[in-house]
Structures are given as structure tokens and as C-alpha cells.
Amino acid sequence: MADVLGTFEQAVLLATIRLADKAYGRAILREIETRLGREVAPGAVHATLERLEDKGLLKSHLGAGTPIRAGRPRRYYQVQSKGVAALNDARATVEDLWRGLRWPLKGYV
């Protein structure tokens, strides 16, 4: 069975997939903020990226720095097959939970 993902972990993995070869910390943060429509702490994104990499759902490599970063390198992330499987499981679980109900919910309360 694939790893069980929290909502924020799903947001990080999906942002990484969307950004493809441009997925580094700051870009992932911006993508998540755009999708969620709220400000997100960089520390939360970095902690999640580190945890997902430790679990083998992501892998990373260093890229070149830029002048605005004072030459400090970027760490680029790529989703691994374990990460894709975990995302597919998460989506399937949500769809199972919603099966038979119409969205948006109306008239239940």
C-alpha cells in the first residue's frame, strides 16, 4: 500500500509535478500559494519537501544559483514512482468517500 498523504503533502507533490523541471523550493511555495489562495510559510514547505524526500516520494538535485539569491544554489525536486502511487491512492480514497453524494452538498443540515 502506498504512503498515506496529508493535504499539504498532496499540495507539495502536485505543485512539484506541475512545475516539472522548474520545481525548486521558492517556485513550489509560489505555486501552492496560488492554488490555495493564501500565504504559506517557507519553513512548512521545506519541512514537507525534506520529509517526502526521506520517505522516497521525491528526489532532489542541486542547480545553479542566481544573483538575486547571492549565488546560492537551488534544490530541484522530482516526484518518484512512490510519490505518484501515493497521490493516486489519495485521490482514489477521496473519490470513494464522495461516491453517491452530489457536490456541492445541499440540504443535509
Binding site: Y24, L29, G43, T66, A70
Partner: protein, 196 residues
Amino acid sequence: MRTGPPHWAEALLRLFLKREVFATVSGDLLEQYRDSIHPARGRLRADQWYLTQVSGFVLRGARLWAALFAAAYVARTALDWLRPTTDFHARSEVSTALAAGILLVSGFWTAWRSGSFAAGAAVGLVTTAIAAVLSIGGVALLLAIWHDPATMTAIRGSGNLQESLVLPTFLILPGMLIAGVGGVAGATAKRLLRPV
């Protein structure tokens, strides 16, 4: 003129991150500071934003140790209140060794990760400061639950309530020193064991 966040804040961040992670994380923060936060909010608010982000990393680095330290303190207090004794020597030895052990390991681990000698003292300071708040809250909770006459007698016999509430703040300086020793050991071990 400074075009980035305060240097001391970056130095603090360096203490709490793995050496190989610092360059990329600080680069991401610097990029965000320069390309969006500073232009939109100005220098003062951008610096405040940066400090808030650094605080997040610092709290993440110290919260486990602070929780363990506070749990040990509250457990010892509960033992003294609920299982009174007149001989506190053995209990003191165990709880002192446990507290020192937590601080030594926190200092060693943080300095091992960052490779910095100062990381131990820094994590000791933050750990004991957070633990002081948690411990005082924990002691207040104990008192809210157990305040019958027998427990109040036990509290007076174990050094009274004031001591239980004030002691955590007195542990901040020694905690910083003990974790500092762990930090020196951790940074030294990192240097000695670094692959050639």
C-alpha cells in the same frame, strides 16, 4: 546599503539547519525577500517577515527537546506532589541526569547537523525558554486538577508552589551551558568524522 535580511538572522538560521540544506533554504528565503517581500512591504516589514520565517525554523529545531524537557519537569513535579517523600536525593539525581541528558543530546544533535559549535548553546537557550513556558503551564494544570488538602501539604513539603513555578526560568542559563557542551562535542565529532 543592505539589500538582504539582517546578517545575524541568517547566522541564526545557519545554526538550526543541516549544513547542506542551509545554502538552498537561505537562497529561497533571500530570493523571496528581494523579489517580492521587500518591494511590497519595505525594509522594516521585510526584516520582520524574515525573522518570522527564521523563528519557524528555530522552533521546529527545538520543539521536540522542549517538549521532552517540560514533560520530565512536570512528571517530576507530579511525582513529588502525588507520591510525597522526605528523601528527595534519589529523585533529584534521576531528574537532574534526565534533564542534563536531554540538553546534551539536543546540543550534540543540532551541532552535528549544522556543523556549528554555537548551535548547541542556541538550541539550549530556545529549548529551555520554550520548556519554561510549557512547564509552568503544566504545573498550573496539575494544580487545577489536584488541589486537595493532602496534595497542598505535599506541595509545601516539596519546596512550595512558588519554587515549582519559578524554577523552570532559572534553568534557562544552565540549560544553555549544558547544551553548549553537547554542541561542542557534536561539532567536534562532525569535523573528526567528516569523510575526507
